[in-house]
């Protein structure tokens, strides 16, 4: 039954996943080409100098990328569920409701984690060809909070979309917006190095939040 649920999620999101992969890799390739162009114009030593001594960050363009794909994937997963209240059908399956919902949420989380590995891996691979490990580490520490935000927003969208009333949904959106802002407090390269562990903890803590929305949906809460 769980595999059927996973297959259902795959059917909803397969074209979106493929599109995100293609667009994402093309976008990252474009960013890398821009960097290589800068290198041809000013020379690699100058690029190293601005990174090391002037705290320039080469991949600013990637800042809201993971957040965007988290939103796209989340909407692809949960908008069909709330259209005509189709989630009722899933909740009538002979499985505990928390297993049904967690299967959907964890599917989204795993897809986002895989996206993060692929897209971060692409950037780090490119960086490791041209820059030493110290700069690669700095790039990783800078982009990691941004990619974690995509994983978190995908989770929060479940909580927001399944909520049956608009009044509570607005509060959910406001709280989610504030939580996501935690990942974008500072643009300074590697500034998150001391709080990354606390940010990791947010992800599992937020997973159960969707149960409240499902409970309220089943209770028939209305505006």
């Amino acid at each position: 039954m769980i595999w059927s649920l996973i297959y259902k999620e795959w059917k909803k999101t397969n074209y979106y996943i493929l599109s995100i992969l293609i667009v994402g890799l093309l976008f990252e390739a474009y960013l890398c080409l821009e960097i290589l162009r800068s290198v041809r114009m000013v020379g690699m030593p100058h690029v190293w100098d601005v990174i090391i001594n002037r705290n320039a960050f080469l991949f600013d363009g990637i800042k809201f990328f993971s957040l965007s794909i988290g939103v796209v994937l989340g909407l692809a997963q949960y908008l069909p569920e709330i259209k005509d209240k189709r989630i009722k059908l899933s909740l009538h399956l002979p499985l505990p409701e928390h297993k049904i919902i967690f299967t959907m949420v964890i599917y989204g989380q795993i897809v986002m984690i895989l996206f993060s590995f692929i897209f971060m891996g692409f950037i780090l691979l490119f960086t490791s060809f041209y820059f030493p490990c110290e700069i690669v580490t700095s790039v990783l520490l800078t982009i990691l909070p941004w990619f974690l935000s995509g994983i978190v927003v995908n989770n929060l969208l479940a909580w927001i979309c399944i909520e049956p009333t608009w009044k509570r949904r607005i509060f959910n959106i406001i709280l989610s917006f504030i939580i996501i802002n935690l990942f974008f407090i500072s643009d300074y390269p590697s500034s998150y190095v001391n709080i990354l562990i606390y940010i990791w903890i947010i992800i599992p803590l937020l997973i159960p939040s969707v149960l409240i929305s499902v409970y309220r949906f089943k209770e028939g809460k209305q505006d």
């Binding site: 100098d49 820059f131 110290e134 504030i178 606390y198």
Partner: protein, 404 residues
């Protein structure tokens, strides 16, 4: 389901304890007054330049006598600061403090230096620049490689991201001969290629020995420096002044500041007000006769006038800033969570519990909650009451939104 509900309420409380105080600060924050304080070699006292917020004009005042100066009078009592204007006005005195002053000396022995906590507390990529210190050219040339100092020294070519093994081995031999104990604890460089000249880097090894490292005619130079025994450097700030009189400012563990001079690496202690490198700003405005050294924090600006020859204090001045303490905000928020700091470019979680008086304010919010419950004819539960009692406005907002 109750556990999940209270988990969301707790997350909301934590998030509100970050965002509400931050939003409040955004609405009421003001810049600290920007008072310039300088020691006058003519009046032999501190003078200050600041903007009068009520009259919205610049005020030039003697801190001791209270005398107000006009713009041109102010130039005349600060000849070592406004010498360019005085030369143009043909009012530059020929002697100051009984000594003839040459413009060349004035320019080379004057400098402005600013140290802030964020310069020390900032994420840094551990790769460093080594200029050729003796190129014979006027302008410094940006090197094509950078070095790292882990358990050995390695130079990495920027062009192809490869280690320059011969150069690395050449420098490593010198480190071995000088008995440098890896790993390096502190590395100070000045990577600005627009500086007048280069004196390399200063490196502290793991046994608190300081070394001077530079490259001269493509050859390595490494010299061990004798430090005062009680000096444990926490930060070194390299400044290459035009007169070549010193290499750097060395900051010790207990608020001491030293000048590392070029006179056989002699350390000269600088008289300084109480200074915390992690919280206070330090400014030095130097001329050939006097240094005006100021330590600035959110409450005060304490300035010392030091003799340039021996860095001993001869006069002091204190400016107290009006407290930005907002009583209403401090009692509204029982605790504050923050990640950013004015003292660091790192993000750190910081949790500050405000006054015990907040418990009384929390009781007020609890009363509001009870009234709302009565109006809505809902039952009182113990958990929301305890939450609001301890978390005040954060708990009230979270429970009102998510309790149902």
């Amino acid at each position: 389901m109750k556990k999940v509900k209270y988990l969301i309420i707790l997350i909301s409380i934590i998030v509100l304890s970050w965002v509400l105080p931050k939003s409040s600060q955004l609405m009421r924050d003001n810049a600290l007054p920007n008072n310039m304080v300088y020691y006058s070699s003519v009046e032999h006292s501190f003078v200050s330049l600041y903007r009068d917020s009520k009259k919205n004009n610049l005020v030039r005042k003697n801190s001791r006598s209270g005398k107000i100066y006009s713009n041109s009078e102010f130039d005349s009592i600060l000849p070592l600061l406004y010498y360019r204007q005085l030369v143009v006005d043909r009012k530059m005195p020929k002697e100051i403090c009984g000594k003839k002053i040459l413009l060349g000396d004035l320019q080379s022995k004057s400098f402005f230096y600013h140290m802030s906590p964020t310069k020390k507390n900032t994420p840094k990529i551990k790769l460093y620049t080594m200029f050729e210190s003796n190129s014979g050219r006027v302008r410094l040339k940006m090197p094509l490689d950078f070095f790292r100092l882990t358990n050995k020294i390695e130079f990495i070519n920027a062009e192809d991201n490869s280690v320059n093994i011969p150069k690395s081995e050449m420098f490593q031999n010198l480190f071995d001969i000088n008995d440098f104990k890896f790993p390096a604890v502190l590395i100070a460089t000045n990577p600005n290629p627009k500086k007048a000249y280069d004196e390399g880097s200063f490196i502290l090894d793991s046994e608190n020995h300081l070394f001077h490292l530079k490259m001269m005619n493509s050859k390595p130079f490494l010299k061990k420096i004798n430090m005062p025994k009680d000096l444990h450097p926490v930060y070194i700030s390299i400044l290459e002044p035009l007169d070549h009189s010193f290499y750097a400012f060395v900051y010790g563990k207990y608020g001491k500041v030293y000048q590392l001079t070029t006179d056989n690496y002699r350390f000269q202690e600088i008289d300084c007000p109480k200074y915390d490198i992690n919280k206070d700003k330090l400014k030095i405005m130097a001329n050939p006769f006097f240094w005006t050294l100021s330590v600035i924090n959110k409450d005060t600006k304490i300035s010392y006038a030091l003799l340039a020859s021996n860095k001993k204090v001869i006069d002091k001045d204190t400016i107290n800033f009006k407290g930005e303490y907002n009583h209403i905000e401090n009692y509204t928020f029982p605790f504050v969570l923050s990640f950013e700091s004015d003292y660091s470019n790192f993000l750190y979680p910081s949790f500050i519990i405000n006054s015990y008086i907040n418990i009384l304010v929390n009781l007020f919010f609890l009363l509001i909650f009870i009234v709302i419950l009565k109006i809505k004819k809902r039952e009182m539960a113990i958990v929301p009451i305890v939450l609001i009692l301890f978390t005040g406005i954060y708990g009230l907002i979270s429970i009102l939104i998510f309790e149902e």
